[in-house]
């Protein structure tokens, strides 16, 4: 009997706890995901905001990325979304965004965030201010400089082409007995830069997405050939299926990879896990036969949602994070590239970053000027996730031989048409 009494009181406590969830006046829920320490830093920075604005209570809910990607759109459609979220499908969720323009200083935002504001406007366009690009990323190459030194091969120059790099990396790999000359992350976003450098336009003259053209096919052919002749590590693209993401950072960290094409977000991981094992550096994006040497920009941003009960508070929170000093601090602590022009111009003193990591981040930042306008347009295109997915799936099939390159291109093209048809 005694134990059953205990149980009942335990139950009562639970209900009690449930009931005490009475809310302060302006509770703002921030759904956040982390690729490192971002959410912790936001929580810390926002606690200072709360001290200044006692009428606003910001709660950061840290969720897996999967929740942002798959569940957030469902919750928003059902009207049960959070007030603020960190998102990556920038243009795709536009219909749910809260326009911050009425609550913030338009002049400041436009001068600070410039073109990235466009990425959040989606297909609808207009001049609303919907989101703050909190971390800018750019794709680029990492090289194992120690292997080059061991092989006695000089690093290709900054305007070297993809084939120059392939040749040099193969030479180094042969000379040093390294497993793989090159690898590229398994992601449609990662190969977009090289494809553009090979002449892919991705959009037709009217601005409609087509994905496949001669340039894209040329890159695909080269990419498949490199897989077949062992220039590129098969494990990354051929070891996975579907639209799953796969990186090759582990191979690079273990010194089994000469040239690794990934992006600026890997810097922290390399810094921490390569340690003193070898020297590595960032070389930006190699050039294609068309002369372009484009990487692909990307990143995540913070947006508010229209269905919030406290639009003013939401705008105040995001505006606070957009202030130059706060933005600079967050960027330094999370070791990201800034999308804020003033912060970028002044340069960021990255916290706890080794000289190698600081150099790497600067190299990435410098490479932004090489990014082709097509790449910027692609990043801002609301349907880009569909295109990334199609790229990965069909290219993989061509690599493992389930489809020929021509068949893969045909499928990619018809997949995109069907997707556009469906969402019209």
């Amino acid at each position: 009997m005694k134990s059953s009494l205990l149980k009942t009181s335990a139950l009562a406590t639970v209900f009690g706890l449930g009931a005490t969830a009475a809310f302060a006046a302006d509770e703002v829920r921030f759904m956040c995901y982390s690729d490192g320490n971002e959410c912790e830093v936001y929580e810390d920075v926002l606690s200072r905001f709360e001290a200044d604005n006692p009428e606003i209570d910001v709660i950061v809910d840290v969720v897996p990325y999967q929740a942002i990607l798959e569940n957030l759109p469902v919750q928003l459609a059902a009207g049960t979304g959070p007030d603020i979220a960190k998102v990556t499908d920038l243009g795709g969720l536009n219909q749910y965004y809260l326009d911050l323009a009425p609550h913030v200083d338009r002049g400041y935002w436009e001068s600070a965030f410039g073109d990235t504001l466009n990425w959040y406007r989606g297909a609808a366009g207009g001049d609303g201010i919907y989101g703050m690009h909190s971390q800018l990323t750019i794709t680029g190459g990492f090289v194992n400089a120690t292997l080059f030194e061991q092989a006695g091969v000089a690093l290709p120059a900054s305007d070297a082409s993809w084939s120059d790099w392939a040749a040099a990396a193969t030479k180094v790999a042969k000379a040093t007995g390294t497993d793989f000359p090159m690898a590229i992350d398994r992601s449609g976003h990662r190969v977009a830069g090289p494809a553009i450098s090979y002449g892919a336009k991705l959009f037709d003259d009217a601005g409609d997405a087509i994905l496949v053209d001669d340039g894209f096919t040329a890159f695909t052919q080269q990419f498949v050939d490199w897989h077949n002749d062992g220039t590129i590590a098969r494990d990354v693209w051929a070891g996975q299926g579907g639209a799953t993401y796969q990186d090759a950072a582990q191979e690079f960290i273990n010194g089994e990879l000469v040239f690794y094409y990934s992006g600026s977000w890997q810097v922290g991981r390399m810094d921490k896990n390569v340690g003193d094992f070898f020297d590595w550096k960032v070389v930006g994006s190699p050039c294609g036969p068309s002369g372009a040497c484009s990487g692909m920009p990307g990143g995540a941003g913070i947006v508010g949602f229209e269905q919030t009960k406290h639009p003013k508070a939401v705008a105040a929170v995001i505006d606070y994070l957009a202030q130059e000093d706060v933005y600079a601090e967050v960027t330094a602590r999370t070791r990201n590239l800034p999308a804020h022009s003033a912060v970028a111009t002044k340069g960021v003193e990255f916290q706890d970053a080794s000289p190698a990591a600081a150099d790497a981040l600067s190299a990435f930042a410098a490479d932004l000027s090489d990014v082709s306008p097509i790449a910027f347009a692609y990043q801002g295109y609301a349907g880009n996730r569909a295109m990334y997915g199609i790229t990965v799936e069909r290219l993989s099939q061509a690599i493992v031989g389930e489809l020929s390159v021509a068949e893969a291109m045909e499928r990619a093209s018809s997949d995109l048409k069907a997707a556009l048809e469906e969402t019209k």
Binding site: P73, A238, G239, G383, A386, A419
Partner: protein, 322 residues
């Protein structure tokens, strides 16, 4: 432990007795069923009905009300095919690749898994030392989340994994398992058996307990051989439980997804892409989210499963109606 609940059960007995007097014994069955039917109707059956409605709509909106009615178009898309045996000739080539992969997978996986589960259950049911420990050993993998299962086996099977280190040491030489379509498929079967075997072993173990001991004692008197005892006593008396295991493992086998998805992502290419992955990528993870197509595909799969299950139930009709 159950004594704690006695007062509660006494209280429930009062209204139940009143109902029994009013409805009679046989109608009381519905009273016993009712709580389950209500929960089940709301949270299992209603969503399935909604799913049927989704399958007849298009677009990428989430709410049913916002979606245009397209009739049987989604089913038509799935069936648009010149030759069903050659996925490349189908409009939804990935769907058909997934269908064929899944068929092979289930045939292998269910057979191997039920066989090993039965063997394990019988051995664990013997009078062995440290039985609790051994039961735990075989059950632990079931407790792991799919992501972790995949991670463990990736570590073991990757180029520099434990298995290759061992094979190098024995002189056989390692192999890059996960880049080879056939091996990736074989390992997917192995991993899913590894991860789920404990579940079915446990169910069979409980079933073995239901076999009265005097039956075995009679067999002992007759000096029946182990194999004969197994065929003539264990297997027939275990068949209601075996039916549960067969039905469940077939359904779960067709629905295999998360551990293989985390393990190979469905690759290389589409070698280990199974039907649920297709549904997941079309309807949820990919862009645009084609809920309609995903729902239609799920109904096609459900239809096939219903047929297969009915065959199983029919073959075991003695146990279903017992």
């Amino acid at each position: 432990m159950l004594q704690i609940l006695t007062p509660l059960m006494r209280i429930i007995e009062i209204p139940m007795l009143a109902l029994q007097r009013r409805l009679g014994v046989n109608k009381l069955a519905w009273v016993f069923l009712m709580p389950n039917l209500v929960l089940f109707g709301l949270f299992a059956f209603l969503p399935v009905l909604l799913n049927v409605a989704y399958s007849m709509t298009g677009g990428d909106n989430v709410l049913l009300g916002d979606r245009p009615y397209v009739g049987g178009r989604n089913f038509g898309l799935l069936a648009e095919c010149d030759n069903f045996l050659d996925p490349n000739s189908c409009r939804e080539d990935k769907f058909w690749r997934a269908i064929w992969n899944t068929s092979w997978f289930v045939t292998l996986q269910v057979g191997i898994m039920v066989g090993f589960s039965l063997l394990t259950a019988i051995i664990l049911n013997r009078d062995i030392r440290a039985r609790g420990f051994f039961r735990s050993v075989f059950f632990f993998p079931v407790l792991l989340s799919p992501v972790v299962v995949a991670l463990i086996w990736k570590w073991i099977l990757q180029r520099h994994g434990v298995l290759n280190a061992f094979l190098d040491w024995t002189g056989i030489g390692g192999y890059n398992w996960l880049v080879d379509a056939q091996w990736a498929f074989a390992w997917s079967v192995f991993i899913s058996v590894w991860a789920h075997m404990g579940f079915y072993t446990l169910i069979l173990l409980a079933g073995l307990q239901a076999i009265p001991r005097d039956v075995y004692e009679a067999a002992l008197m007759d000096r029946a051989s182990p194999w004969r005892t197994f065929r003539r006593i264990t297997l027939p008396l275990l068949s209601p439980t075996l039916l549960v295991v067969l039905v469940l493992s077939l359904i779960k086998g067709v629905q295999t997804f998360d551990e293989v998805y985390a393990f190979t992502g469905g690759g290389p290419g589409t070698a280990t892409t199974f039907i649920i992955q297709y549904i997941y990528e079309e309807g949820f993870a990919g862009a645009p989210r084609l809920f309609g197509l995903a729902a239609a595909a799920s109904l096609v799969v459900a239809g096939v499963l219903v047929l297969l299950t009915l065959v199983q139930l029919w073959a075991n009709r003695k146990n279903v109606d017992a």
